[in-house]
Structure formats: C-alpha cells, structure tokens
C-alpha cells in the first residue's frame, strides 16, 4: 500500500499558529477565570502580531498545499494582512468596553481569534469545500460574538437573526456549490477554471445557475443588496466592539473571497457574472446612500454606510480586469482603515458612564472636544469621498477601472449615489460643529484609543502623499490572481 505523502504545512503556518494560540489562550482563560480577560486580550493581540509577521515572511511564490485546497499568493497575503490589522485593532478597542459593560469574559478574544482563522482560511480557499469550511468557522464565531451580551434583548436578537439568515445563506451557497460540482466534476478552483478555458465552449446552464447561487451566498456575507436585510439590525443590536469587528475584518475576507471565486475559477464566465455584479453594485450603492439618510443611530448609519461601501468595492470587481481587482484591494484597504477610526470614535461616545449611540449625542462636539471632532470630521469627509482624503482615492480607482472596462452607466450611477451618500456623512459633521452642545463625552478616552484614532486619521489624511507603495503592493496582489 503506498504511503500517503505528508502535506506541506508551511504555507498554512500563520493559520496553524493562530489555532494553537487560540486553544492555548482558551486554556489560560479556563484556568485563570474571567479576571484574566485583559491578559488574554493582550496575548491575543500578540498572537495576531506574530501571525502578521508569519504572513509577511511567508513565501512570495504562488503555491498550493493540502491537495490543492489551500493557496498562498500575493493576493491572499495582502488580504490576510488587512484582516490581521483589523482583528488586532478590534481586540485593542474592545478591552475597555467589555470591562465597563460587564461582558468581560475571556471567550471574547478567543472567539475573535477563531473567527480570524476562519477568515484567513476563506481568503486562502482554493476549493469549494475549504471555502465553505472557512466561511462556517468565521460565521459561527461571529454569531456567538453578536449574541455575546446575552443579558440584553437586542444583542440576543441580533445573534439569532444573524444566525438564522446566515444559515439560509450557507444553504444557498452549498446548493450552488453542489450544482457546480455536479456540472464540473470537481470542487477544485483550478480544475473548474481549466474546464472553462477548454476549447472556448459555452458553459452549461447548470453551471451558471450554480454560480448564481454561489454569488448570492457570498453577497450575503458582504451584505450587498438584496442580501443586506440582516446588516442594520445586527449592527445595531450587537455590542459596539462586535459591530466594529463585523464591519472591518469579515467584510474584507468575504469581499476578497468573492473576488477570488469570480476571477480564479470563473474568469471564463466573466460575461455571465458581470451583469449580476453590476446589478448588485448599483443596488448596494443606491440603497446604502438613500436608506442612511434618515438614521438617528450611528451604528445603524454605519451599517448602511458599509452596505454602500461594499457596493463601491463591487464596482471594481464588475470591471473584471486586473485594474479592477487592484482597485477593489485599494478600496478595501482604505475602507478598513477608515472604519477602524470611525468605530474607535464611536466607542468613545460615553456620557456619565453610559454608552450613547445617537447622532444627536454628537452635537457640539466641536466645542466640547475639538480634537475628537476634528478626527471624526476627517474620517467622515473621507468616508464621503472628499478629496484629498483617502476615501476619495478608493472611489477614484474603482470608477477608473469601471470606465476603462466601458461600464459607463455603472460609473455614473456610482458617482451619483456617492453624492447622495455624502449628505449623511456631512450631516454628522454639521451636527458636531454647528448644533447646540449636548452633554460632553467622558474623558480621557484612553491611550490605546488615542493611538488607534491617531493612526487611522493620519493614514486617511496623508494617503495622498504616499500612495506609491500601496499601489505597487495591490498591483502585485492583483497580478497574482489573474491568469
């Protein structure tokens, strides 16, 4: 009997390291009790930092392992770095919050670590099965994180809603995957892609139906319209650090996964999926812009904002070119940094020991706390896409890619909804600077928060000065993906 070869585990070293670290921290927590939460959180940040170094120092060559199920290339490396930065920032931001709100349990950082492993598996997936397993690991941990504040009705409702709708989307995704498997005979992305490039034949209709279901399932994970229903309620109900986490890392993971699925195995079907992605992008941008206009809760507002931003990122994907993929990656990078900053600011909104979430509570922040107001103003100007801040460049590259791919309608509609969307960001700035001051927020906000806010604001403000390395980096990542 032939001995099976031992798979090469080196490419998956960051994931393996994080899994081991999560289990070790679980043991630490189980033995030391909830008093050790802060220590576990910091150790988790250290673990994430080490994983970041491992990802960076990993092989630069494209390589697969585990019988072709796991792929490492510049694209996955870039996405993993974004995810790890987002995770580390969330962990740091959550520490004070979970202690104040009486949800200080050591499982919180451990679950975040486990969700991160799932996301890294998603971006490295090279097979429909490993795609699904990664998504489930991520989602299952996120459901629990959403319901973590189990004594409040809103949080449990958020968790339940997320779980039920997430299970539905997983069902659609699996149905699509099984159709694709049935019509191609393989779950491996390379094998599916090879089938497409053969002899230029028309893809079978069953394969297209499968692809539509797969896109629906993934669109749910990036919360693109019409699969967005869960987003506002879950974002509002979950505790604020959990919301921050949802808005940051999983979005990046799901979007990069969607890009990989559509570009790597289904590049041959670009004409088929281009119309779907275009439609989803238009709907997301429009809905994100219009539905956010009347929101009074800042977490709900951020939910609609993230729906809109995912629409903008999808514009780049709809182009279906290397430039398009690159623009998606730039967009995700900028989106990640802006959202980290925005949520760090939201986490400092505390009046008399109580967290507040209303937009009215920001009134007069320009007088009460000029520094915080300035930071928030920069971040929201950037989210609205006002030059010369980073958010403008994200949208700029995305629309440029769409125009180069001759998707003029898409680009025009995108710019229009960006204008509508600017209104609600600017409204917040108006409330901060021109309204009668409300009760001022508690100070100090803590050293870690100051650091995160400062770093993300500096990046947002000065991206215009040094875009070179990021462009080169994303260029390389996009080139690795396209055949």
């Amino acid at each position: 009997m032939p001995q099976a070869p031992v798979p090469d585990i080196l490419p998956a070293l960051p994931e393996i390291w994080l899994a081991v670290a999560a289990m070790l921290l679980l043991m630490v927590g189980a033995f030391r009790g909830n008093a050790s939460t802060r220590m576990v959180s910091w150790l988790a940040v250290v673990a994430v930092a080490i994983a970041f170094v491992l990802v960076l120092s990993g092989s630069k060559e494209t390589g697969t392992t585990f019988a072709g199920m796991f792929v490492v290339d510049s694209f996955s490396t870039f996405a993993k770095e974004l995810i790890l930065v987002g995770t580390a920032a969330t962990l740091v931001m959550s520490m004070d919050y979970i202690r104040r709100e009486g949800m200080e349990r050591f499982e919180f950082p451990v679950l975040i670590l486990l969700a991160t492993i799932g996301m890294m598996m998603m971006v490295s997936a090279n097979d429909l099965i490993s795609l699904y397993v990664g998504i489930e690991l991520q989602s299952l941990a996120l459901y629990v994180i959403a319901a973590f504040k189990r004594d409040t009705l809103k949080s449990t409702e958020a968790g339940l809603k997320y779980f039920v709708l997430g299970a539905l989307s997983s069902g659609m995704l699996l149905y699509g995957a099984s159709l694709i498997y049935g019509f191609t005979g393989s779950t491996n992305f390379e094998a599916i892609g090879a089938l497409y490039t053969q002899a230029g034949q028309e893809p079978s209709i069953g394969l297209i139906v499968g692809l539509v279901f797969l896109i629906s399932g993934l669109a749910f994970k990036v919360s693109a319209v019409p699969f967005h229903m869960w987003t506002p309620d879950v974002y509002e109900g979950a505790s604020t650090p959990a919301t921050a986490f949802f808005a940051i890392a999983p979005k990046v993971a799901a979007m990069t996964l969607l890009v990989r699925v559509l570009i790597a195995p289904f590049f041959g079907a670009v004409d088929d999926w281009q119309q779907i992605i275009t439609l989803i992008a238009i709907l997301s941008m429009g809905y994100g812009a219009f539905a956010a206009l009347r929101q009074a809760n800042i977490k709900r507002l951020m939910a609609y904002s993230s729906i809109g931003h995912m629409g903008f990122a999808l514009v780049g994907l709809a182009a279906g070119t290397e430039q398009g993929v690159q623009s998606v990656l730039i967009y995700l990078l900028i989106y990640l940094v802006m959202n980290i900053g925005a949520f760090a600011a939201i986490l400092t909104m505390r009046v008399k020991g109580q967290m507040v979430e209303g937009i009215d509570d920001l009134a007069g922040l320009g007088r009460n706390n000029p520094m915080l107001a300035l930071v928030l103003a920069i971040l929201f100007f950037s989210l609205a896409g006002i030059p010369p801040l980073a958010g403008f460049f994200g949208k700029f590259y995305v629309f440029l890619a769409a125009i180069d791919a001759q998707l003029y309608t898409l680009a025009v509609l995108g710019v229009l909804s960006s204008v509508v969307g600017a209104y609600y960001y600017l409204r917040i700035i108006k409330v901060m600077y021109f309204d009668e001051p409300a009760e001022s927020f508690e100070r100090p906000i803590g050293r870690e928060m100051t650091l995160i806010l400062g770093a993300s604001t500096l990046f947002t403000a000065f991206f215009v000065v040094f875009p070179g390395p990021f462009l080169a980096w994303t260029q390389q990542a996009a080139a690795a993906l396209l055949p």
């Binding site: 099976a4 019988a67 199920m69 499982e107 490993s130 690991l137 629990v144 191609t184």
Partner: protein, 204 residues
Amino acid sequence: MILSAIAFYVFAAIIIASAVLVVSARNPVHSVFFLILAFFNAAGIFVLAGAEFLAMILVIVYVGAVAVLFMFVVMMLDINFVRLREGFLQYLPVGALVGIILLIELVFIVTTQVNVPEVLAISGAPTPNISEVTNTHALGRLIYTRYIYLFQAGGLILLVAMIGAIVLTLRERPGVRKQRISDQVGRSRSDSIEIKKVSPGNGI
C-alpha cells in the same frame, strides 16, 4: 447468495414494519424503541452491501446519540402525544401527496441522469478495490491525509460551537448547592463529630 438475499428481505421487512409502528404506536416510548429497531436493521442492510463503516456510524450516531436524545425528550418533557396525534387522518391526504411527489422526483433522478462528458473525465476519486482494503481503512486514509486540512478545520468549527454553547448559556447561580469533593475529603473528624458526656439517667 441465497442466504444474503434472505437476510436482506428479513432486514427490509423489519425496517418497514417498525417504521409503520413508529408512527402508529400509541405509547411514545414504544415509538422510540421501534425507531431504534429500524436503525439496527438498516445497519444490517449496510453490512450486507459491504459498507461496514456506514453500519457502525448508523449504530453509534443514530442509536447511540439521536435515539437516546429522543428518549430523553419523550421521558422528560410532559408532551401530550395523544393530543398531538389528533387529526392524524385529516392530514393523511396531504402527507400522502408529498410522499408521492418525492417518489416521482426520485424516479426522475434515477431515470433522467445527465452525464456531462468532460465531467466524467475528471470526476471520480480513485476507489480502492474493496477486496484489498476495507472501507473504514480507505476512508481513514483519505480523511487523515488528503483531507486533513478540512478535518482539522471541522474540529475547529466544533470547538467554536462548544465555546459558543457555554458562553451563551452557562450562568453562575448563587445559592446552588454543589458537590465539592475537596471539602468532603478534607473534613476532619473534629468538624463533624462532637462527643458529649451523657450522665446516666438524664437522657441527652
């Protein structure tokens, strides 16, 4: 050959009979027992078909876990099964209709199979010869080598499920008497026994 045919028909007949009894038994505990009987016989059919791994899994998972879970539900919850069963005949036509539709679909699947030619070329993981290797062995070889990544990831998912269940439900309840073995073992005689001098004739 004839022996295995006889065995198959015996197993199959018992499965159908016990399946009918699961639905029609008046006592829910009996229903669960018939369910277990059906599972055991299905395992027998799997053994006949040469799928001994499936037979083992069926007994371990379905009999060992699922049926016992049913038993717990039946015995611990006060469910009025007679009330639940009311209107059984009333829903029978609808149920029969669903059954017939499923049957037609099954027939469709079997008769109208489409084989995409280029798919046939790449599909089909090499099946090891059943006379050389038991299927438990073959599965093990695949799961622990080719699919080790997915196997370990599945383990992580289960770990998350476990953590989640504990995080969301475990509560510290004050005032509950728990057994503390170390306290019990650590008791000394002087903690629990007091020697009293009883003077004769006075009682205690």
